[in-house]
Amino acid sequence: MPSEVLGLAAALAALVWGAAALDARLGASPQSRLVGGGVARPWREAARLLVQQRRRTLLPDVLLTRIGVLTLLLAPVLAATVLPLGGAPVADLDVGVVWFNAMEVCVWAALWLIGWGANSVYPLIGAYRYVAQGLAYELPHMFALITVAVGAGSLRMTDIVQAQHGLWYAVRMPVAFLVYLVSALAMAFWGPMGQPLGRDLAGGVPAELSGADRLLFLAGRYAVLVVVAAAAVPLFLGGGAGPLLPAWAWTLVKTVAVLVLLVVARHRLPAVRMDRFMGFSWLVLIPLTLAQLLVVGIVVLP
């Protein structure tokens, strides 16, 4: 058990740094790329934030802000405890999929609390944008997760991995996989779905965060991104299954592949307007995922 906890913590920390470094590298100007700019930036940024003094707004709700920042980091870590990293997960819950979903929904509360707590207009607008985004992505996302659970006949992550021995669910239920990837972007408020932190809002939700609070916020945000990428592996990409390499190595390779895809998407895709996405999500994605669920349901019907 302790070795699994340590392994999970180390993997999360390494992937969070890796995602931040790749993101900085892709976002760096060509000049700074020549001198190796980007890769060291997460460390420099962390050091800068650690010594930075806290800025305060007028009449902030400090308690709610702190709860929000801690939740943003804790929720993805707790969600990751049900993910099998090759061997058994830290907590092999029989309702692992529901647990994962519950923990990722806590990100809604975290972001709203941070946006509210600062008593400042831009963070608040960003927070409401995220809640609206949540209402748009959550139902298709849940249907995608339910489709996987129906396909495997179990809510336990390890059973879902077992059920994909013949064929990955990414192939067997492609619509659910694509919807999962879209909702992963939305959940991590990343790239095209990054409007809660939009430039038009002067940075949005974390606009007033500074120092250690901001460092925790950024770590939490990357942790959410890493965990939603990592969850795609047991859910859709066959977990640790693969030739030659051991299971943990395949899990890592697949996780990194999904993570790179998500990080690159940020630098390649345009921003999505949230009201448009809401309509698209409810009118197109929900019926599509329901149809996918129906197909899978008919196929697995005994």
């Binding site: 009449l59 709700d61 308690l63 709610l64 709860i67 819950l93 029989d94 309702v95 529901v98 647990w99 979903n101 519950a102 929904v105 806590c106 809604w108 509360a109 709203w112 609390l113 509210w116 008593n119 608040l124 409401y128 809640v131 949540g134 209402l135 959550e138 809510l155 448009r276 309509g279």
Partner: protein, 165 residues
Amino acid sequence: MSVAFWALAVLAVAAGVTVFVVDSMARATFALLASLLAVGGTFLLIDLRYLGVLIVLMMVMEMMIMAVFMIMYMMNPAGLMPMKMVHNNRVAAIIAGTVFVLLAAGTLFTPWPAAKERPGGDPTHALGLSIMGPKMLVMMVIGVAILATMISTVVLATHKGRYDR
């Protein structure tokens, strides 16, 4: 087990009381959420893991939507100034007291059926069979009612008509 139960029970009641003590709508919402999460925790204690985790999932989402609505409807929209969470105290106290006495009397005097056998097997599975079997009518009616409520709330809340994008 009973220590955990009492801790969760005290937390649920204390957080419930906090809802009426704090002076901000946001804090009241999240105090209510804390109370409901403690209730979800008690479900985990009796091994109803699916229901317990589902309560956590649904309550977090529900309270976020509640927060939006409560703040939208209150007199002090931004919540910048402290506000009182209780109004019309005497009538409220009478109603609350009556309801409490009724519910408490109900729990104490109802002849609860004794369990004939130990529940066996997977409770999640049993729940699914029950929802899809004898309780299906109730669940379908509730499901459609909730969906209709959601759609009508959205229609009432939106400025635009369905063709205006």
